[in-house]
């Protein structure tokens, strides 16, 4: 026994030494110019991913597992430059408007779907009409709610009155017009979201089957989907976009244990990591050397209240919620349990997004056990004096959920336990079905870098990602006003006022902002991450073996 375990330690030491030397040589070569390494343009690489919750339809992916694959398979009118987050035209030649309500879209020619059919104006219009239709039950259908005629195809209840939205009109193959219900100054920003992707004719014959074998127009085409194992995509050689892939394809490998993904990365069995798991954060920079990535990200971690439970409805419970927020020692938890991989949050919008304002949460996000206790007592106490936090145990959340609970319990005496669900899908299903008793983990990764996305799409009444069913007429009114503004700047400013309403109601407790803490293997180079926390897949270069 003793002999065996010693042998193991020796092996580990050798591995560390090898890794260290590998880092050294890598650093030297990149210093001389990153393009010097021989690159295999046909080479494929793997990425740590998770099983998509839904079939791969562009308007049906809100979670990262499906969303990031959709992003590679489809390309909409515009997208965001990974370097600076600015909007740039892709399929669109130009999008023109004078009043922020009526838009004329001109398409570039030469774009094709992976099955060879051309991308035309009706590819967009038909796709949007289908995705918005309530019958098709697409999770992101409310993204189309700005467009005139949305309520006809997606009434609050009952069957749709029309098959198409009156606001969309095809002029010819390369032109179409969009009419909105009112001015939405940042509508072009929204168009970069995957829900606005075009769909080929093949989609409409059998959307369900298509969801297992999607045909897009993006830089990568779909190859195969082994459920709960991997999704493979390959570079599309006729891709007409600005970001042509510099590699041959990607394998999205499914991991339920982030620790396992990290171990695979260290041994070069997976090439690019999504996130380093909390338990390896302390050592990942030493393990990976120059292959470690640590940068800011447009994402926030919250814990939200199940506002649909009667116990949380009374008005004075806002004080209780604020009190609970003040009972969380964000600084210490981010420094210790999260190893500095997060930045304590004091606002509901992540920094970097347009319209971000520091400290909108104010004192309610500062750790103050005495005040926390007082507020909870004033608000009539926590229902049953107990909270549970529903979370998925496959994402490395256990440590911080436990730490948050300990912090709350010790500061206020409120019993608090984590309620782990085995995987992301299970936890999302429970949250979607509104079966959460008191609290749930909710994170938000920006869809587009504007504060409106962090606010209206998460806290607006009936919004798809409003997991806690928060509803405040005042907030909705301010959000509606903000949408009507004629400039993006004005919109952002008005949304800051709406955010102030969140500070009063505290429907969700902001915990911290994400940082991209990741890394890549020795097989790849030029791995960069955008503000969404996704690697810029098309830029990744696979080294010649």
């Amino acid at each position: 026994m003793r002999g065996a375990s010693q042998a193991k330690w020796v092996v580990a030491a050798v591995a560390v030494a090898l890794a260290a030397t590998a880092c050294g040589s890598n650093g030297a070569s990149s210093g001389g110019g990153s393009s010097t390494g021989a690159v295999n343009a046909q080479g494929t690489f793997s990425y740590q991913s998770s099983e998509p919750q839904n079939p791969l339809q562009p308007a049906n992916a809100m979670e990262v597992g499906g969303g990031r694959i959709i992003k590679q398979l489809f390309k909409g009118l515009v997208d965001y430059d990974p370097a600076d987050g600015k909007l740039r035209n892709q399929v669109a030649e130009k999008i023109e408007t004078t009043d922020a309500t009526n838009y004329t879209v001109t398409l570039k020619s030469g774009w094709t779907f992976h099955d060879g059919t051309p991308v035309t104006a009706s590819s967009f219009v038909d796709a949007w009409n289908w995705s918005a239709n309530t019958k098709n039950n697409q999770i992101n259908s409310d993204w189309f709610s700005d467009i005139a005629g949305y309520t006809d195809v997606h009434p609050d209840a009952g069957d749709p009155k029309a098959e198409t939205m009156s606001g969309l009109k095809v002029v010819d193959d390369t032109h179409f017009t969009i009419q909105l219900t009112g001015p939405v100054s940042y509508f072009q920003y929204k168009l970069g979201y995957t829900a606005f992707s075009p769909l080929p004719k093949a989609f409409f014959t059998d959307p369900a089957k298509y969801g297992q074998n999607p045909i897009g127009n993006g830089p990568y085409k779909f190859v195969s989907w082994e459920h709960n194992k991997a999704i493979t995509v390959a570079a599309y050689d006729k891709y007409a976009g600005l970001d042509k892939p510099k590699n041959g394809g990607i394998v999205f490998k499914n991991y339920t244990q982030p620790e396992a993904a990290y171990k695979d990365l260290v041994s070069d069995n997976v090439d690019v990591l999504d996130q380093v798991d909390p338990s390896d954060l302390a050592s990942y920079k030493t393990d990976l050397g120059s292959r470690a990535v640590d940068q800011a990200q447009g994402a926030i971690q919250n814990i939200s209240f199940a506002m649909y439970q009667d116990a949380w409805k009374p008005v004075d419970k806002a004080k209780v919620r604020q009190g609970l927020s003040m009972a969380i020692d964000r600084d210490t938890i981010t420094k210790t349990v999260l190893n500095g991989s997060r930045q304590p949050a004091n606002s509901w919008v992540a920094p970097g997004a347009m319209g971000y304002k520091d400290n909108t949460c104010g004192d309610a996000c500062k750790y103050d056990p005495a005040k926390a206790k007082q507020l909870i007592t004033e608000g009539g106490g926590v229902p049953d004096n107990k909270i549970t936090i529903v979370y998925n145990s496959d994402g490395g959340h256990k440590e911080w959920v436990d730490a948050v609970c300990n912090s709350i319990r010790q500061a206020t005496g409120v019993e608090c336990v984590g309620d782990p669900k085995p995987d992301f899908k299970t936890s999302r299903d429970i949250i979607k079905k509104k079966q959460v008793q008191s609290m749930m983990r909710t994170g938000w990764v920006q869809d587009y870098p504007l504060n409106a996305n962090f606010l209206r799409d998460v806290y607006g009444t009936g919004a798809a990602a409003n997991d806690g069913s928060y509803s405040n007429p005042e907030f909705d009114k301010l959000a509606a006003e903000a949408d009507k503004a004629t400039t993006v700047e004005k919109t952002a400013e008005l949304y800051q006022q709406a955010e102030a309403q969140l500070a009063k109601d505290m429907p969700a407790i902001p915990l911290w902002y994400y940082k991209t803490t990741s890394g890549y293997s020795n097989n790849v180079q030029n791995v960069k991450f955008d503000s969404f926390g996704d690697p810029v897949f098309t830029q990744v270069e696979v080294k010649q073996k």
Binding site: P278, S279, T336, V337, E399, S407, E415, P420
Partner: protein, 312 residues
């Protein structure tokens, strides 16, 4: 000198007591006989002392530590190293990744393990004992039915079955784990009891009791049970350690006990994530678990030797 002669003469006397001539002396029951045998075995004495200690810890953990095992202070105690000089102090075994005293958690974790171990053993012994008795005594179609049902349950692997059963509980406590393990573990006892009852049933004294007109219940309880129970007790004692290990395994896998219950399995699970930076967080709960399981298995071994030397 007289002392020496005394001891020398005592040994033959004692031996004489055990050989057939013992008849005129007061007859010893099976239990008394076993006890006589057991208390002279060091392995029994050590394991029994350990178990008594564990039970005391489980009943009154407050005697051993004054710290709340759930209270953590991340500011000052995040993965603080153990201070081995501070015997029985909160920092004796160091602090875990939530800033909680590992010593306090090890002490409070004993309760879950001991309760699960004892309750599951009691449950399977009662359930398995009754079904085994019925099957063995009545025989025929009753035996066929009971045996087939037993076979079905026996076919389900304990750990796998427990995973499935426990997944059905939305919130799991000690009792749901006990329920799952009893529901899947009783078959082993049924088999042992049935075999034992079938052997005993043919004994002369049973026939005699029948001839004297004793009722079924009386025969089962007064004549068969005391003589058939020994192998069951032996198997149960050995299995007890196994049940404790199974509970820890389930908790480790995240499907057994849940927060706020304190369990060594849960602590081992959270400690494995910091094993590179804080190996002590893994060492102490894992060590306590090993010692506990070992104590029960040693006890089971000793009891087996005493009760039923044939099984040796």
């Amino acid at each position: 000198m007289p002392d020496l002669t005394d001891t020398k003469t005592e040994i033959p006397a004692q031996r004489a007591a055990e050989v057939p001539e013992a008849k005129p002396e007061k007859a010893r029951s099976l239990g008394l006989d076993a006890w006589h045998d057991l208390r002279r075995r060091p392995i029994f004495v050590i394991s029994a002392l350990l178990i008594v200690l564990l039970i005391v810890i489980a009943i009154a953990p407050g005697l051993f530590t004054s710290v709340d095992p759930r209270a953590g202070d991340l500011r000052t105690h995040f993965l603080t190293k153990p201070n081995y000089g501070h015997l029985f102090q909160p920092d004796w075994f160091g602090y875990d990744g939530q800033g909680r005293s590992i010593y306090a958690r090890v002490i409070y974790g004993a309760r879950a393990s001991v309760v699960v171990g004892i309750c599951v053993t009691a449950g399977v012994t009662v359930l398995g004992g009754i079904t085994g008795m019925i099957a063995g005594y009545f025989g025929g179609w009753v035996d066929t039915i009971v045996s087939r049902v037993t076979d079905i349950f026996f076919g389900i692997p304990l750990l796998l079955g427990a995973l499935v059963v426990l997944n059905a509980f939305t919130s799991r406590t000690i009792w749901s784990v006990v329920f799952a393990l009893v529901a899947l573990g009783w078959t082993q006892m049924t088999r042992v009891m049935r075999g034992s009852v079938i052997t005993v049933k043919q004994a002369d004294y049973v026939t005699a009791a029948k001839a004297l007109g004793a009722g079924t219940t009386r025969i089962m309880v007064k004549h068969i049970l005391p003589n058939a129970i020994a192998p069951v007790i032996v198997v149960a004692t050995i299995a007890l350690g196994g049940y404790i290990a199974t509970e820890a395994t389930l908790s480790f896998l995240g499907i057994g006990l849940q927060d706020p219950t304190i369990s060594w399995g849960i602590d081992i699970n959270s400690a494995q994530k910091v094993i590179r930076t804080a190996p002590f967080a893994l060492f102490f709960p894992a060590g306590m678990l090993s010692i506990t399981v070992l104590a029960f298995i040693m006890l089971g071994d000793a009891v087996r030797d005493a009760l039923d030397p044939k099984l040796r």
